[in-house]
Amino acid sequence: MSAISPPAERIWWKAPIDKLEFTWIAIALVWSLTMFTMMVYWHIAGGQNLSNETYKTTKEMFAAKAQAVVDKYTVRTETDQQIPVVKPPAGSDIYLIGRLWAWWPIYELEKGKAYKLHLSAMDYMHGFSLQPQNINIQVHPNYEHVVKITPNQLGTYSIVCNEYCGIGHHTMVGRIYVK
């Protein structure tokens, strides 16, 4: 009698389990526990954990905070759209706005210094995808997500939007310089 018929042994729950089958279950269980431990271990000892610091905000409030930082620390503008390039002091709070279809402003950061990056969206959800690092974070409207970042390599980084946000989604690219 096979899997498409009732079990031939009525009291199937008393049938012994094959040795190899049992060994495999034990191995699989140990592996599952190992994987669980890794996540906890990384919270304690690892250097890359997504922060849980989140606040409810409004579009106006967040935009005002970003504007204040931009007004204070802009060093130049780039591209035809005159996007400000902002060079904040190490350790400060920086604000990145995601909106249809741009990341605003551009930041210039120092290698090895920590910054508190605040993320929020002005309209739809957007996806913060830092390239070529490949760090990906979901960005929601009306929530302010605070992530402490420490760039560890020099270079020019792009922020690709990787949450579908309408017809201009593919043009939504921002930039961070690490000097």
Partner: protein, 560 residues
């Protein structure tokens, strides 16, 4: 109308005539959705192939939305309804409870599917199958999905009702078959899923017609994925049940241990539907504790269950083959398997691809910190084409080869193509899944019209390897579409023009299933060393891949 039963002369299965008709209609509706979704796949994949870049942006997003809903929802769920009716009424030799309600369910599902497709093709509803707020589709897009879900819910109740009828009318002895147990798992998860779907889609519908002002985006994602993820568990339960059924039909294989396999299905019910957190690992507003507990204790129990099925099914085949005398060495049982029988090859490719490609990548993505590496990249569709296409769709295709003569009473036309089809479609899909995962590892976004960022003031230049992988996605994708389209043509032609086979005896009373007398003697025990070796190869690949990703993560910018 009196219930009649047909005994299929080719398989010995007994079909309630009313149930049989429902199975046929549901399966056919599913294949139509697959056809539409497949045409859309062509548009999607030819646009993501950078050298071709076929469609303009608006049509690409429209095609992608249609591809998602037709494949993931309509094709799979219509077919699953057929599987539920088969696993209850046919396998238990029982009449289907309330066929009228089953028809009502079918009609609601059909209306819902058509309505949602109409909304998508009218434009202005290209919101993807996830329809994340605050992006808004037309009201009839949501309404279509709701009607479809209500119809599927009715189908689940008919399935449960049939189990009750079978028990009450004593059409079988002992416990329900393992495959029916697997289908029961799927149905229970489906009820939870559809409830979550109602909780999120009904307010979203009301919002789209203006009765609700705003829907919170985090709340939406949490509840939406309680539906979206659990519905993948329905698929897993259903295709695992089909793997067991395939092993039983092709080899007469008996589960290694009923107890183990049933417990593993039970773990799906207990833990899988809670795993929605792994879709929010890179989201703000939900805490690490929830993420870790939800993805580990809850998800790993489900992973454990899949690892168990992944071993016990080949193990059961190995036992059956060794009992037939294929005993040489570790792998004679596998070498001598009927590789030319599409019901077998499809299921075997489905099992291996689901485990190696879908399983390993899924667990990697489902690890809280590692998720940062791939969230919303094309790695994600790479992963789920290994699960829902190689796992679910290919298993359904394999089962259909068995069902054409048995349920549709037609001979399969073009048997030469049938031998090849699972390899053509399955192996091409292996490549599609792998290269999408490769491109995603390099960061390439999913749901993205142009990797050259035309029109952006600050375009990013992807590495050449990313372009290469997306080109390969295009090529292998086209091969897969030929393999899948070939399957549709073959099945449709067989149903229309295949040689008619005789119906077999029709009777007005069912023949109950009886068990052989209990002798108390156990059959000689047969070991499964070959399967164990395969399982260990799997484990080693899993461990290596898992830690390689941690190594990669540790090289990134510090984050806290």
């Amino acid at each position: 109308m009196a219930t009649t039963y047909r005994i299929c002369p080719r398989s010995g299965l007994q079909f309630d005539t009313a149930a049989e008709k429902l199975m046929r209609w549901n399966a056919v509706a599913g294949v139509l959705a697959l056809l539409l979704g497949g045409i859309m796949a062509l548009g999607v994949v030819l646009t993501r192939w950078p050298a071709v870049h076929l469609l303009p942006a608006d049509q690409f997003y429209l095609a992608l939305t249609s591809h998602g809903i037709n494949m993931l929802l309509f094709w799979i769920i219509f077919f699953e309804m057929a599987v539920l009716y088969f696993a209850s009424s046919t396998l238990l030799h029982c009449r289907l409870a309330t066929p009228k309600i089953a028809w009502l369910g079918f009609i609601l599902m059909a209306i819902g599917a058509i309505m949602a497709n109409v909304a998508v093709f009218q434009g202005e509803s290209s919101v993807m199958f996830t329809s994340y707020v605050p992006m808004q589709a037309k009201p009839h897009f949501y309404l279509g999905l709701i009607l479809f879900a209500v119809g599927a819910l009715l189908g689940c109740f008919v399935f449960l009702g049939t189990l009750v009828v079978a028990k009450a009318e004593k059409t079988y002895e002992g416990s329900i078959p393992l495959v029916t147990f697997g289908a029961l798992t799927a149905a229970i998860i489906a009820i939870f899923t559809i409830a979550s779907g109602a909780i999120i889609l009904i307010p979203t519908f009301l919002w789209s017609v203006g009765y609700i002002r705003e829907i919170d985006t985090i709340m939406y994602r949490v509840v939406w994925w309680a539906m979206g993820h659990s519905s993948q568990q329905i698929n897993v339960s259903a295709h695992v049940a089909i793997w067991y059924a395939g092993a039983a039909i092709v080899f007469g294989a008996k589960p290694m241990s009923e107890k183990v396999s049933r417990t593993a299905f039970l773990l799906y019910i207990l833990f899988l539907q809670l795993a929605s957190a792994h879709h929010l690992l890179s989201d703000p507003g939900v805490g690490s504790e929830w993420k870790v507990v939800n993805t580990s204790y809850f998800m790993y129990f489900a992973v454990l269950a899949s690892m168990i099925h992944g071993m016990t099914i080949p193990g059961a085949i190995e036992q059956a083959q060794r009992a037939k005398g294929y005993n040489k060495g570790l792998f004679e049982w596998l070498r001598k398997a009927p590789w030319g029988n599409p019901a077998f090859s499809a299921i075997f490719l489905s099992l291996v691809g689901f485990g190696f490609l879908g399983g390993i990548s899924g667990v990697m993505m489902g690890t809280e910190q590692l998720n940062l590496l791939i969230h919303n990249t094309i790695y994600v569709p790479g992963h789920f084409h290994a699960t829902v296409v190689i796992g679910t769709t290919l298993a359904f295709m394999g089962l259909t080869y068995f069902l054409v003569p048995v349920l549709f009473k037609r001979e399969v036309l073009f048997p030469g193509f049938a031998k090849l089809q699972p390899y053509l479609f399955g192996l091409a899909m292996y490549v599609v899944a792998l290269v999408m995962m490769g491109a995603g590892t390099l960061g390439v976004s999913r749901r993205h019209w142009d990797m050259a960022f035309a029109g952006s003031p600050m375009a990013y230049e992807w590495p050449g390897a990313a372009y290469l992988m997306m080109g390969l996605t295009g090529i292998a994708g086209v091969v897969a579409i030929i393999g899948g389209g070939g399957w549709i043509l073959q099945i449709v032609f067989s149903l229309l023009f295949g040689k008619k086979l005789d119906d077999g005896e029709t009777r007005s009373t069912p023949i109950p299933l009886t068990l052989p007398p209990q002798t108390g003697a156990h059959a000689a025990h047969i070991g499964t060393p070959g399967t164990m070796v395969l399982a260990l190869v799997f484990l080693v690949s899993f461990i290596l891949y898992y830690f390689v990703n941690w190594k990669y993560l540790s090289s990134l910018w510090g984050m806290a």
